[in-house]
């Protein structure tokens, strides 16, 4: 008996996690997928009805706004964070004296809850007493900066706060990447007399391709899941001008009580995430072997 | 008395891939068995199978006459020294050595006594309170041996224990292991890819390739009468010369560039097929006059490369289309590009079948 336990111990240890995963991840995804194919409203129904929920979803103007916002937010958030992160990493890589302190400062927002970030930027960007008032106070009476309450511009405030929070993290990733480039290759290039800027553009940055990919995946993942930031910063408003799929799903699930819409929007979110992540995971797991 | 280790028809496969084919080995009390072969030949896997660290697909393993095929490592009465030493990083040297005894419930007085004994034997008494991270490679090696010694097992297993040491230390530790073997009279199985280690340590060598045993024998047997071209090439440094040759009218003919073939009388009247590969150790190509006898034949060869190696000088020429190395004395007059007179001593020559590589004489 004891011998049997000893031999089976590894499997017994993994079994609960495996079971939990099957139920709480795969089972639940299955449940959501099922419900997204029914006529569920306030209460779940389990008779399959086809793709009616998805049709409703794609016809809903609010969902259109959410998807459009995700595109704007995603592209800008990822693009600016990457560009800024790379710039900061390269600048920090020049044997700067206060590197440790600067790095700590650039990265600390990542330790904050998005709710805190949202709250802070909401205060800074509020037109009445924030930046607008501050600049007006300096004598520029005509200055206006009302993005937070402007339905066309509000989504960009989410971008600002998002970039503020995540770009330091991208910097840390890139800096680690810059430092992990084989120093012999760089020495060889220096011996060949290649100028510093060329060493970056021709040798170091290309060799960091995997890190670009990682950073992209993480940021894309963050963007698609973004929920707290919008809730805290704009509450999805004005109106539903800053809705993202995540907030749409939440609204349908918990305030509108429309389970079918919540389930189908969640499924679409998952498909978007998987479209980004699965090829990456697949290649990661393959190259590891 | 029962053999210390008996392996019968052992087979090991991962799914479709067969790692070990039909291995049969037997060693007696006090034997020092060395498993040698190129990397990937299955020698480490075989050692793990003996230790019980990997299950085997077929066959049986018995240690000290007791059937052990399914027994876990702890019940096999073995101790093992690993390539990476595998010292427990968070434990002191003393704890590393006594951990096994502690697990087996040996009382602490005995633990202490054995620890001191082994520490004295290996001269590591002053290191007992250190952590592995604070030790040099050689010291770690000693601790790893100490951990095996306190076990006083029926069989010691060594998995390339010297390959992480630098060249000088490696030679020192080699001698030390040999001395340990002599002092303890213990039985050992030792895995290495280094044929010199194999030759110097073993009482019995197993040469492996591709999961198949090529030859089992005493070091001198392996060296002088290799069972096939692989063993001939693998054991010995520089390697045995393998020269394509033809046999006609009781004479061996070796093609020479820009000259008549060298003709040598076949020793012992062996009957050989027409095409053969002649295996000749570099030390059997000598300066003319250095040896005499019916099988010593002088010939002139064109020197391609001269490699002085201190005590000896290796002289490379080309015969029968193959590079041929002679081990000559340091005083040799050989010059690259010049012809040189040497003598071929076929007294210990091996002949191989060119296709299968099997020994013919």
């Amino acid at each position: 008996m004891f011998d049997w336990l000893e031999r089976q111990a590894p499997k017994l240890v993994l079994a609960p996690s495996f079971a939990a995963m099957l139920l709480f991840v795969y089972g639940f995804i299955g449940w959501t997928a099922w419900v997204s194919l029914t006529k569920s409203r306030l209460l779940p129904k389990y008779e399959i009805d086809g793709f009616g929920q998805y049709e409703r979803l794609f016809n809903a103007p609010r969902w259109d706004v959410a998807i459009e916002n995700l595109a704007i937010f995603g592209i800008l958030f990822i693009g600016v964070s990457m560009a800024l992160g790379l710039l900061l990493a390269i600048l920090l890589d020049q044997r700067i004296r206060a590197e440790g302190a600067l790095r700590t400062i650039y990265l600390y927002p990542m330790a904050l809850s998005m709710i805190v970030t949202g709250t802070a930027w909401k205060w800074i960007l509020n037109p009445g007493l924030g930046i607008e008032a501050m600049v007006k106070g300096w004598g520029f009476d005509t200055f206006t900066f009302g993005w937070l309450v402007d339905p066309d511009m509000a989504i960009y405030t989410v971008v600002i706060a998002g970039v503020w929070q995540a770009s330091g993290f991208v910097m840390a990733l890139f800096l680690a990447g810059l430092r992990s480039v084989d120093s012999e290759i760089i020495k060889a290039a220096q011996v060949d007399g290649i100028p510093t800027t060329r060493i970056y553009t021709a040798i170091i940055i290309p060799s960091m391709a995997p890190i670009f990919l990682s950073a992209f995946i993480v940021l894309a993942h963050l963007a698609i899941k973004s929920f707290d930031l919008v809730i805290a910063l704009t509450g999805g408003g004005p109106g539903y001008a800053t809705d993202l799929p995540a907030t749409y799903m939440y609204a349908m699930a918990f305030s509108r009580g429309d389970l079918g819409q919540a389930a189908s929007s969640a499924m679409i979110m998952m498909m978007i995430v998987f479209a980004v992540v699965v090829p990456y995971l697949y290649s990661e797991l393959r190259t590891r072997k | 008395m029962a053999p210390v280790l008996t392996i019968r028809n052992l087979r090991k496969a991962y799914g479709e891939t067969v790692i070990l084919h039909d291995v049969n080995i037997e060693i007696e009390e006090g034997d020092f068995l060395v498993l040698v072969g190129p990397s990937g030949c299955g020698k480490s896997t075989l050692l793990n199978c003996i230790a019980g660290l990997e299950p085997i697909t077929g066959g049986s393993v018995a240690i000290g006459g007791r059937e052990m095929t399914k027994a876990p490592p702890k019940d096999r009465d073995i101790a093992m020294v690993f390539q990476s030493y595998a010292l427990y990083p968070t434990m002191t040297v003393a704890k590393n050595i006594t951990f096994g005894m502690k697990v087996r419930g040996v009382d602490s007085a005995t633990q202490k006594r054995k620890l001191e004994e082994v520490a004295r034997q290996l001269q590591i008494s002053q290191l007992l309170d250190r952590k592995p991270g604070q030790l040099s490679g050689g010291q770690r090696q000693r601790v790893a041996m100490g951990r095996a010694l306190v076990r006083e097992p029926k069989l010691f297993l060594f998995d390339e224990p010297l390959s992480n040491l630098d060249a000088k230390l490696r030679v020192e530790m080699r001698t030390e292991i040999k001395r340990l073997h002599q002092d303890l009279g213990a039985s050992m199985v030792y895995v290495t890819h280094d044929q010199i280690e194999a030759m110097t340590l073993a009482t019995k060598i197993v040469v492996m390739k591709g999961g198949v045993i090529q030859q089992i024998g005493a070091p001198s047997e392996i060296y002088n009468r290799p069972a096939n071209m692989f063993v001939a090439d693998f054991m010995g440094s520089p390697a045995m010369n393998l020269i394509p040759a033809t046999v006609e009218n009781g004479q061996v003919a070796i093609a020479r560039e820009g000259d008549e073939p060298i003709l040598i009388d076949l020793p012992g009247g062996a009957s050989l097929p027409r095409d053969v590969v002649l295996g000749l150790r570099p030390e059997d190509i000598v300066e003319p006059g250095a040896r005499s006898g019916a099988h010593v034949v002088p010939a002139r060869c064109k020197v391609e490369v001269v490699e002085p190696a201190g005590a000896d000088t290796y002289v490379v020429s080309r015969l029968g289309g193959a590079a041929v190395t002679a081990r000559l004395s340091a005083e040799t007059q050989a010059r690259a590009g010049q012809p040189l007179d040497v003598a071929f001593d076929l007294g210990k020559a091996s002949f191989f079948e060119p296709q299968t590589g099997a020994r013919l004489n």
Binding site: I96, I105, P109, V116, I124, V273 | T90, D159
Partner: protein, 296 residues
Amino acid sequence: MSDLSGYTPERTDWGRFALRWGLFVILGLFALWYLAPLFVMLTTSVKTLEEIRTGSLIALPREITFEPWAKAWSQACSGITCEGLRPYFFNSILLAVPSVAISTVIGALNGYVIAQWRFRGADTIFALLLFGCFIPFQVVLLPMAKMLGLLGLAGTIPGLMLVHVVYGIGFTTLFFRNFYVTIPADLLKAAKVDGAGFLRIFVSIFLPLSVPIVVVSIIWQFTQIWNDFLFGVSFSSAGSQPVTVALNNIVNSTTGVKEYNVDMAAAIIAALPTLLVYVVAGKYFIRGLTAGSVKG
């Protein structure tokens, strides 16, 4: 890398001097940008409402008052109750400590098995676990709510704990697995030959080795759980809300006068534990972030 600056002989001393200063200025400006929100939060939180209305956003407070902090801690209103952040802060602690501990222990054992006791199918299980790290949690929100209801845990702290443990295991397993694969297989073999069993080897040999990765796992899980909002807002009820949900409620509560100083004090209080962790153990925090992303 980082040896580039010493190898630019064509540049004059003056040019290099200007370049270095330019670099510092740019880096400094960015530092200001990252620090500005924290600065504004801090100064706003100690200003009086009167000063906030009349003064500038970035002006230092003329007189410092800690009343907003006291109010944020124990009196601020969120929705119908006015107890400040305090009860919710303790909810978060009550929630985070066991969740972090449990998910770290499970992750350590899982990682130990997957990396060192490889068996047929272990890699597949790992891939399945890893996959769980990437799903958008929206997709499990509805069935989870239902499940918690079935278990009688809806709206309770143990219910939230279950959620955090279940969805944290993937990450903690990843951390430990990636840590343990770097440990040579010989160590496990040596311990087996020494006669130690599965648990003994884990406790005596692997666990003592794992201090750094345990720290990484604890910090990661703590930050994730403390900062979580989605699960908190979805699965808690009035008495069991974590601090992020309470903060959001306080800031967005529409009753009475808008007290920005109290909001800012509340935001800092809610951020304090994770900020503290970051300052004390930044190295491990970064390691968790990069391990959780690069390797994932």
